[in-house]
């Protein structure tokens, strides 16, 4: 079929199409419109929204034929083409800090342009309706909504031009391209002639299998170049992220252990592979008994998933101090409970994607990732290459939240490229992404907490099992982190917390914003609320009384001389807590019994960086021959803002503005290891390396100038110099000879946070810094339907020093939104909720106004006093919501998500108590 249509004003003609080809595919693959981002291919996420004759459509579920004769407009096309609505909206998004990873923003932008063309002065609810079809996993929507309303108003906010010194809310240095879709993500970078790879995956959670005659099958499939399986791996068919726990095969060999595990890959011509029906791929399955749950896996009849774990316990963790049992016996009141949580899916809108190429003996992998150097090292082992023969080039990453720390697509395309000496690309379908990549660990936690009648905590005994799925991934980290954090930010003398990671026939559970701490916080913060009630104490006063303070030992015996910010967070929240409670009480007195208001509180803490392990970052900076300052910034920005925040720290240390700095990405060939983007470590650890690098480069420049230490550097387009008082030193670039990279001066600086090992009882100094948080949630429960309407969330976060307050707020909003989803709707069930219409994440209509209170209690080690934030933001939200529901209705909830059926069942089971 031949179709003709107008794309961003230009008439195009495409011949030889199947009329049913998705418009998104036609636009991206045939017309080069890579600003159309694809998230789900099912009309569930809206990222691919384009305008057809001015109205918003999901390009992934519009046929090519339907575009015939129509006008199609895309986000970057509109923006580049000078559409004033698009430019106004993009500027407002940029100025408000609305964008994070940006993969959904082309959809947001086009949706809003469509609205503006119909309605010049839309209300907030109309704007919300217009954006309701686009899912965003990063932003929490509130800044987006504010920006969208402003863009439609008379006085839209424009990006502020500042130097971006530490403390400035400078707009993201890479923000605009992420808004318009000009930014290249994992599936946007493959060369046009790249072959396509698809994976053959198990339909069974546990099965033996045998591959048939693959060579014969390839012969019957024109356009298929190659099939790959475990037998083709030149190196080690195992990977993992924790030394000693590399238990996951790239391709399963004879047995699969979770639904969606890869057994083979087919590679060939893009059109052929896309259309290939894999139903007749030669593989036979012999399904086996499945250990679907931790209880199944721990039962005496269960088969061991791995020979190294006979009882299916992957590993255990423990922290103990004092005597928890005796203290609980001594306590005046003891509360206990058993809490359960399920799999939570990261649901970033960008599925795993990238491509690999091979020149001579070197393999290069381009794509989305949170950890380029870890990828490089793992790929070298799998491909039997030296790490110097593997290059990893991170593209923009469309959300990660922990799951893109692990290898996913990389070994398959790398292996195919190595074998074929051709570029090979892959993009996971949404189902593949959900089936095969890591999840948040389901948990089963038993907790007992005691207190004396004066409100002092007295004994804490925590026993948690975490379902790590079929392979270890970050399970050992969860098992070790949780006992350290299960106390919450409180002082408890008599403490015991033990954990076990359990193998089951499920997708691997790995890293997800908080590494098990959010699950533990639910148990701890719910029981603290119940203790406060039993003691007839205000829940905030009870927490404040027991909160950690400077020089008070944590559960691991660690004492911080300064920087413990939980009391400051609670104090910042206190007026909001009182006001929201007063409102709720007044409303409950007024209203009938059906709608009940409640206010809930919860706190949290999180240690930044690896637990008691080395965790360095290195930052290289240089002065280029043309006078530009270059920062090799290897801390991958997955949307959280590292490109901006690290640059702000570096620029402040150097003494220049952020716009004077040119960034190089985390390409492993040119950029030193910035460490993985995880554990809320980039602002703290990489930020310190950037600070040191900036200071060192400043010293080098001053030395070259012969200027004194206290001179001020000046960076102008054609001039570099230093000034002190009336004295001025001018830099002469010809006086120095450039190195191979063209740099006149360069420096590499590393930072590794000081920690100490934990002993057998988990005593020691696991982290050099913690960040602190507390949230208050006001909500209304419809007691007839069990539905929850969130009215307002106030979030206090001690970040030490807000390097960029606007980006801090963005992190808070995004984390709160993920906490809302986890509390109220998210439940990943293998084989059931493998798409984004069965697995629900919050939409723009589900997130209430969020007030962010930035608390700054400086950290002794952080750059300019800054602390990490990425994971802290999620931890208090879910327990605060559950506490608010209990205060509204008396329903005591012990598992999440608390869907309406669960709330109604709890209400029927419990007589609502008078609060």
């Amino acid at each position: 079929m031949k179709i003709e249509f107008s794309l961003n004003g230009e008439t195009l003609s495409c011949d030889g199409l199947s009329g049913a080809e998705r418009l998104s595919s036609v636009l991206r693959e045939r017309c080069g419109a890579r600003d159309v981002k694809v998230g789900c291919e099912a009309g569930d996420c809206g990222a691919c929204t384009v305008l057809i004759d001015g109205d918003a459509f999901n390009a992934c579920i519009v046929s090519a034929a339907q575009a015939h004769g129509r006008s199609v407009e895309t986000a970057d096309g509109l923006h580049r083409g000078g559409d004033t609505d698009a430019q106004r909206v993009a500027d407002a998004f940029h100025a408000h800090g609305a964008v994070q990873c940006g993969i959904c923003f082309p959809g947001m932008l086009t949706s809003l342009v469509a609205l503006k063309r119909r309605d010049r002065q839309p209300s907030e609810s109309t704007v919300s309706d217009a954006l309701g079809g686009v899912l965003c996993r990063c932003s929490g929507y509130r800044k987006l909504l504010d920006a969208a309303v402003a863009a439609c108003g008379p006085d839209p906010l424009m990006p502020i031009e500042t130097d971006g010194a530490v403390g400035d809310s400078v707009a993201r240095v890479d923000g605009l391209s992420r808004i318009t879709g000009a930014e290249a993500f994992g599936d946007d970078v493959a060369p046009p002639d790249a072959l396509l790879l698809r994976l053959v995956r198990s339909p069974h959670a546990h099965a033996d299998f045998a591959l048939g005659d693959l060579a014969a099958w390839v012969e019957t499939q024109p356009g298929v170049e190659m099939v790959l399986s475990a037998a083709d791996i030149p190196g080690v068919n195992r990977f993992g992220v924790i030394p000693g726990f590399e238990d996951q095969p790239v391709f399963a060999e004879t047995r699969v252990r979770f639904r969606g595990e890869a057994v083979a890959a087919v590679v060939g011509d893009h059109a052929v592979i896309s259309a290939l029906d894999l139903a007749d791929f030669p593989v036979t399955w012999n399904p086996l008994t499945t250990s679907a749950s931790m209880a199944d896996a721990r039962s005496s009849s269960a088969e061991a998933l791995h020979p190294h774990a006979e009882d299916n316990v992957m590993c255990r963790g423990r922290v103990a101090k004092g005597d928890a049992e005796t203290a609980l016996a001594r306590a005046d009141i003891v509360k206990h409970g058993t809490f359960e949580t399920g799999f939570v899916e990261h649901a970033y809108i960008e599925p795993e994607a990238g491509f690999a190429s091979c020149d001579a003996d070197r393999v290069s992998v381009f794509g989305c990732t949170q950890a380029p150097v870890m990828d490089q090292e793992a790929l070298a082992r799998i491909l039997d290459l030296d790490t110097s023969q593997v290059r990893v080039v991170p593209t923009a990453t469309g959300g990660g939240f922990g799951s893109k720390l692990d290898l996913s697509f990389q070994p398959y395309v790398a292996l195919a490229a190595q074998r074929l000496k051709r570029a090979v690309r892959v993009c996971y379908t949404r189902q593949e992404s959900m089936q095969s990549t890591t999840k948040r660990h389901p948990s089963r936690i038993s907790l007992r907490v005691g207190a004396t009648s004066d409100g002092q905590l007295c004994g804490f005994d925590f026993d948690g099992e975490f379902n790590t799925g079929a392979y270890a991934s970050w399970g050992p980290t969860v098992a070790n982190r949780v006992p350290v954090h299960a106390s919450g930010p409180y002082a408890i003398d008599d403490y015991r917390a033990v954990t076990a990671g359990v193998y089951t026939h499920n997708p691997p559970a790995g890293a997800f914003r908080g590494f098990g701490v959010p699950q533990a916080a639910i148990a701890q913060e719910l029981l603290f609320d119940e203790l406060a009630d039993a003691l007839e104490m205000d829940p905030l006063a009870f927490r404040r009384q027991n909160a950690l303070r400077d020089a008070v030992p944590t559960a691991t015996g660690q004492q911080f001389a300064s920087g413990v910010g939980i009391v400051a967070c609670l104090d910042a929240l206190a007026p909001h807590w009182r006001a929201l409670n007063a409102d709720a009480e007044a409303a409950n007195r007024q209203s009938d019994s059906r709608y009940r208001r409640g206010v809930g509180l919860a706190a949290g803490w999180y240690g930044c960086g690896n637990t008691s392990l080395p965790n360095p970052s290195t930052m290289k900076s240089a002065l280029r021959r043309d006078g530009r300052v270059v920062l090799h910034q290897g801390a991958v920005d997955i949307g959280q803002g590292a490109n901006t925040v690290i640059t702000q720290i570096f620029a402040t240390a150097l003494g220049c503005g952020v716009h004077a700095v040119t960034l190089e990405s985390g390409d492993t060939d040119i950029t030193p290891d910035g460490g993985k983007t995880s554990a809320s470590r980039q602002t703290f650890v990489s930020g310190n390396a950037a600070r040191l690098s900036g200071e060192a480069l400043r010293q080098s420049i001053l030395y070259a100038l012969g200027a004194p230490d206290d001179a001020t550097l000046a960076f102008e387009p054609d001039l570099i110099g230093a000034r002190r008082g009336d004295a001025f030193w001018l830099f002469d670039p010809t006086a120095l000879s450039p190195d191979n990279a063209g740099y006149l001066l360069s420096t590499e600086q590393s930072y590794d946070p000081p920690t100490s090992p934990l002993d057998a009882n988990g005593q020691g100094e696991p982290y050099a810094q913690f960040g602190y948080a507390a949230h208050v949630v006001g909500l209304t429960v419809d007691t007839a339907l069990g539905t929850v309407k969130l009215d307002r969330i106030v979030a206090a976060h001690d970040v030490g020093k807000a390097i960029n307050p606007m980006l801090v707020e963005g992190q808070v909003h995004g984390g709160v939104a993920q906490g809302v989803g986890m509390a109220l709707m998210e439940s990943y069930l293998p084989g059931v909720s493998e798409d984004l219409h069965s697995y629900l994440i919050p939409t723009v209509g589900d997130i209430p106004p969020i007030e962010s209170l930035i608390v700054e209690v400086p950290d002794a080690h952080g750059p300019y006093g800054a602390k990490g934030l990425g994971e802290h933001v999620l931890i208090p939200t879910a327990p605060a919501i559950l506490n608010a529901i209990r205060r509204a209705t008396g329903a005591s909830l012990r598992s999440i998500p608390v869907t309406p059926d669960a709330i109604l069942a709890a209400l029927r089971g419990d007589t609502p108590s008078k609060e």
Binding site: G19, A20, E41, G43, G46, V62, D129, G133, V844, G845
Partner: protein
């Protein structure tokens, strides 16, 4: 698979007569459901057939053409007795889906959670089925025969949905219960249409419930209890579990338990009645 942009109903009828075809319009279900992958059936895209488009007033009501999108339903100035259609339209998916998806497609798809069905049942809709061998009218309740099953023949297409007028004074309401604000499949939903006589009593009323049984159902026991009653808040109490629950067969699924659905079903009908009363005031 061949893909044809059909230009006229006569072409459509001729192609359907040959068999092995799928009729496509909004395609919002065809792509995600996988029906387009590896099929040898021909796709007949009817979106360019002029005679199938639009909402047209008739002597005794309205005709909604097969390619009418939810967006068109949302924007149409319905009178109070049919205004629930706009409420439905505004809650189908989100804007992108409303622009593409058609009401007729929602009926032909015959999902138990099809958003259009409760409202159209309450409005006593009939569907006009056409083929080379003629045209027949079927009440909606006879058209949808089960989960993803309809009475349409392979050679037929759904030409239009016909709605009788609802004389005023009248009110209508639609209540959808889901787990989030947009892009959500119902746990339960109810539609209602009420007409009031000159003495302020319920002259006629229709209530229906979706997502709680294989096919959405009318609730005759409640309708009978409401008929002839004076319009007041007391009508809400006529909606009892005894009158609702025997009409439905709720199931457990990823969205809610069967037990919850049975309770929620009663409540969404109560809320629908309450909204209609409010609108009559």
């Amino acid at each position: 698979m061949n893909y044809t942009l059909v230009e006229s109903e006569s072409e459509l009828q001729a192609r359907l007569k040959k068999g092995a075809c799928v009729v496509a319009a909004g395609m919002t279900d065809l792509y995600p459901s996988g029906q387009l992958s590896h099929t040898d059936r021909d796709l007949l895209d009817i979106t360019r057939v002029a005679s199938l488009s639009g909402i047209i007033p008739t002597d005794d009501g309205w005709r909604i053409g097969a390619t009418t999108s939810w967006r068109a339903i949302l924007d149409y100035p319905w009178p109070p007795g049919l205004a629930l259609l706009a409420e439905v339209a505004g809650q189908v998916g989100a804007v992108q889906v409303q622009n593409a998806a058609t009401v007729a497609g929602n009926l032909c798809n015959a999902s138990p959670a099809a958003d259009s069905v409760p409202a159209l049942l309450a409005l006593d809709a009939t569907v006009e089925l056409a083929s080379a061998s003629g045209t027949r009218m079927l009440p909606l309740a006879d058209f949808i025969t089960g989960v993803r099953r309809t009475a349409i023949r392979d050679d037929e297409y759904l030409r239009a949905i016909c709605l009788p007028a609802v004389p005023e004074p009248a009110a209508s309401a639609f209540v959808k219960l889901g787990l989030r604000a947009y892009l959500v499949i119902s746990i339960a939903m109810a539609g209602g249409v009420v007409r009031v006589d000159s003495s302020g009593r319920v002259e006629d009323v229709a209530l229906s419930l979706g997502a709680c049984s294989p096919v959405a159902v009318r609730l005759p026991a409640i309708e009978a209890a409401l008929r002839g009653q004076p319009v007041s808040a007391a009508l809400i109490d006529c909606v009892t579990p005894e009158r609702v629950q025997p009409a439905i067969q709720p199931i457990d699924d990823v969205r809610a338990s069967a037990a919850y659905r049975a309770d929620a079903a009663v409540q969404v009908v109560r809320d629908t009645v309450a909204q209609m009363i409010e609108r009559l005031a």
